[in-house]
């Protein structure tokens, strides 16, 4: 399978306090890739590096098989982008902004744009400066989808939107993805939102990739275990211990890569597995971040 996005040792620095030390991302073609991370972890910066808006200090980036920044025009012609903050010209109306956008993209589909515009209930004659936050968010998604892109890059597209608008936007996104083989790269810190739509997930923290795995593995493999007679060391365990917490004579472990047959390993270590609890994605995300900052002993 080829990759829609591939970065190798991508490095960037902004001032003294923020750096991406060497990011290696792989987004398979056709995937809906959720790019998770807390605020300030570097999600937007990574996206801007992918789209050639920032110049990296080192490493390589390939998007849709083309090198960044060498072949940017070709990449951007096939990429729909929804930025974190609205970037459209506020004096234009919805219809004018759509026409302006369409002029730059040969693949722009006006009929689909009109269909989305009706579906979103966007008034074509309203100025962008007079649109609500939700309407602006819908317009940004409309423009990106109507390009019929091969790659869709969405930077927190539903951040700050009310639940109704969020549902509309995600529904349009899912509908669009079901019609073709577009790769979607969507960043968010709203974990539940991505859980429903993504099939791959990457977790970024402080500019470093804490994990990158299929969503199914992420959802199923992260468990909380209650263990008695805890072994001295977990070296050689067939799963990854993200965190350990003592509660009396027992310990609570958060592990990644858990499968039921792994209970045998605990038995062999004379430990007693008392309970296995499924963690939801948000708990798993928090534990992953905690583990990436303070690795378990």
């Amino acid at each position: 399978m080829s990759n829609a996005i591939e970065t190798r040792d991508l490095a960037y620095r902004a001032g003294r306090h923020f750096a991406i030390p060497g990011l290696s991302l792989t987004v398979p073609e056709g995937a809906i890739y959720g790019f998770l991370g807390p605020n300030g972890s570097g999600k937007t910066t990574t996206i801007r590096l992918l789209l050639g808006m920032l110049r990296p200090r080192g490493g390589t980036v390939r998007v849709l098989g083309s090198a960044v920044p060498g072949e940017m025009a070709a990449i951007l012609a096939r990429t729909g982008y929804v930025p974190e903050r609205p970037h459209l010209y506020p004096h234009l109306t919805v219809a004018e902004a759509t026409r302006l956008h369409a002029a730059f993209y040969p693949s722009f589909d006006p009929a689909y744009a009109a269909e989305l515009q009706r579906g979103f209930g966007l008034p074509p004659g309203h100025r962008i400066s007079h649109l609500s936050k939700g309407e602006t968010g819908k317009l940004l998604v409309l423009l990106a989808l109507a390009q019929r892109p091969r790659l869709l890059v969405l930077d927190e597209p539903t951040d700050g939107l009310d639940p109704v608008v969020r549902r509309d936007v995600l529904a349009a996104l899912v509908d669009f993805c079901s019609r073709g083989s577009t790769t979607v790269f969507i960043s968010s810190h709203l974990v539940h939102e991505l859980e429903r739509i993504c099939d791959w997930v990457g977790v970024l923290d402080e500019g470093k990739l804490a994990a990158e795995l299929p969503m199914q593995d992420f959802k199923n493999g992260i468990k909380r275990l209650r263990v008695a007679h805890v072994p001295e060391t977990v070296t050689g365990a067939p799963f990854v211990v993200l965190s350990r917490e003592s509660t009396g004579s027992e310990q609570t472990w958060v592990v990644r890569g858990w499968e039921p047959r792994m209970a045998e390993w605990l038995g062999a270590a004379n430990a007693e597995l008392k309970e296995v609890v499924d963690l939801d994605l948000e708990e798993g995300f928090v534990e992953l971040l905690r583990a990436s900052r303070v690795p378990a002993a």
């Binding site: 808006m53 951007l76 903050r85 609205p86 004096h91 234009l92 002029a103």
Partner: protein
Amino acid sequence: MYKQILYAEWSALRVPVLLLGVLAFALPLLTVTYGGSLEGAPAGRVAQWLFAAQQIGLLIPGFAVLVGVLLGIGAWASDHAGKHVYALSLPVSRPRYMWLRFVAGLALLLIPVAALGVGAIVAALSVSLPSGVHAYPLELTARFLMACLVCYAIFFAISISTRRAALAVLGVIGGLLLADGLLAMMGSEASVTPTVLMWLTNWPGPLSILIGRWALFDV
């Protein structure tokens, strides 16, 4: 593509551009405020009239600077507001986008230039000139166009430049003023700023177009 960029720019700047157009039309008409027929008027009155007309002509280069500043900075105002993210996400090279913006601004610049031309022709036709005095509406318009172009290009370049480049320009200006201050403190009669201004405003300095006679009527 160009048509849409031009429309976007027109949509953002149409109010100031139309106001500039009205002012540009009115400016040459001010020259003939004194009006009336000068045919057969005594030489002294003609000289006075010409002097007044030339004084009003001095407003035109200032107006060209205003047009250049407004359109040069206005060309990038929408992109500055969105931190250039929209422009950078478009599938065109940066030089090409810059040219699209530049040419769109130039097209808008032609509105005040054309208005000044029409105003100059109307002014020239509304007065009966004595022999030896001529009207130069086309020459004035061509000169105004050149002055607007120079100012527009300068402010377009400043507006598109990075914060670092803008700071460098301010640094040079501050450095000149500082050097003059230091020279004055040392009791020297030499001065750097006037020399630089002379260099800029005398041919072939880039601002030389703004200096000289800007008269619609002359002998």
